[in-house]
Symmetry: C2
Subunit: 155 residues, 2 copies
DNA sequence: CAAAGAATCTGCGGTAATCGCAGAATTAAC
DNA sequence: GTTAATTCTGCGATTACCGCAGATTCTTTG
């Protein structure tokens, strides 16, 4: 439900290099990883598995939702009363919500939603505003996705 | 530089199912995909390759940046004058920027940045505000990542 | 410091997946 | 209806994956 939030794991240089390789190509073979980092194939495989098991990293397909039938995306800024984390965790349970962060600033939470069309988005917004602890919200409908990348390890 | 923005490709049910499988596990074997969608291994492999080549989908490792040495993340709302797309495309060139969307609402652009620390973030904000066409900006520093997922194909 | 314990690594054999290609089948274009 | 283009199947040859046994390194503890 909510991956990668618990205690920070210690990552050595090899682990970071492995992550970088998989950020460039999530389907690279274990053998290629092993050669690149100077380990045996079995060791490389074990390290990848450990990174996955500990939720430090996940390897997934990422798409532009508009190309897969979800034509309405939006970011919703939410102001809360009480504990923002609590509201955030509840928002995380909403199916259409794919991204929730607690922030400092004029919003307490930023929530990204993926919807099929405008009525669907409207319904999700209603759903969010009815949540206990939500004071107000502001919606930013996506017009164009200009950039999306995941390889900040490799710069 | 800027993937998945051009003309929408036609996706049939099989392509969608393949995407769903890879959203759950980016390292699933071609053989397993083939069995799941009822194609030969070679055909499944060709279709995955096509989806990757056409930038409909990318398979990548995704991490919580805070665990990999980038402790300061933020969303920056940007107001522009002139063509927001133009500014958005220029923002996409900034190294620390991993996500840019053009939006409707009180911001014209939403920009996510990944930084190593506060001074680094400060520098990136300065950099953004100096860009031609940027009128003002508002920064939302991330305190906690509550949810992050990529499998809206599978609901 | 020494010894026990835990974690991590290497090497390897059996199995399974990947790759590339030739030809068949299907779909699209005219 | 014919041509062209795309997509699929089948199948060797190659390569990668998996699990494990034993060696090595790192950590803990008396």
């Amino acid at each position: 439900m909510c991956p990668m939030t618990e205690g920070t794991v210690r990552l050595d240089a090899t682990a970071k290099r492995i992550i970088e390789l998989l950020q460039e190509d999530g389907r690279i073979s274990y053998a290629a990883i092993a050669k690149a980092v100077g380990l045996s194939e079995a060791a490389a495989r074990a390290r990848v598995q450990k990174l996955l098991d500990s939720d430090v990293m996940q390897v997934v397909a990422v798409t532009d939702p508009t190309q897969v039938g979800f034509t309405r995306q939006a970011m919703i800024g939410v102001r809360t009363e009480g504990d923002p984390m609590k509201v955030g965790d509840r928002l995380a349970l909403v199916r259409e919500v794919d991204y929730v962060v607690t922030t400092a600033g004029s919003f307490d939470l930023l929530v990204e939603v993926v919807c099929e069309d405008d009525p669907h988005l409207l319904d999700v917004i209603r759903q969010i505003r009815e949540l206990e602890g939500v004071v107000s919200s502001e919606t930013f409908v996506y017009l164009k996705l200009n950039k999306q990348h995941y390889n900040w390890g490799t710069r």
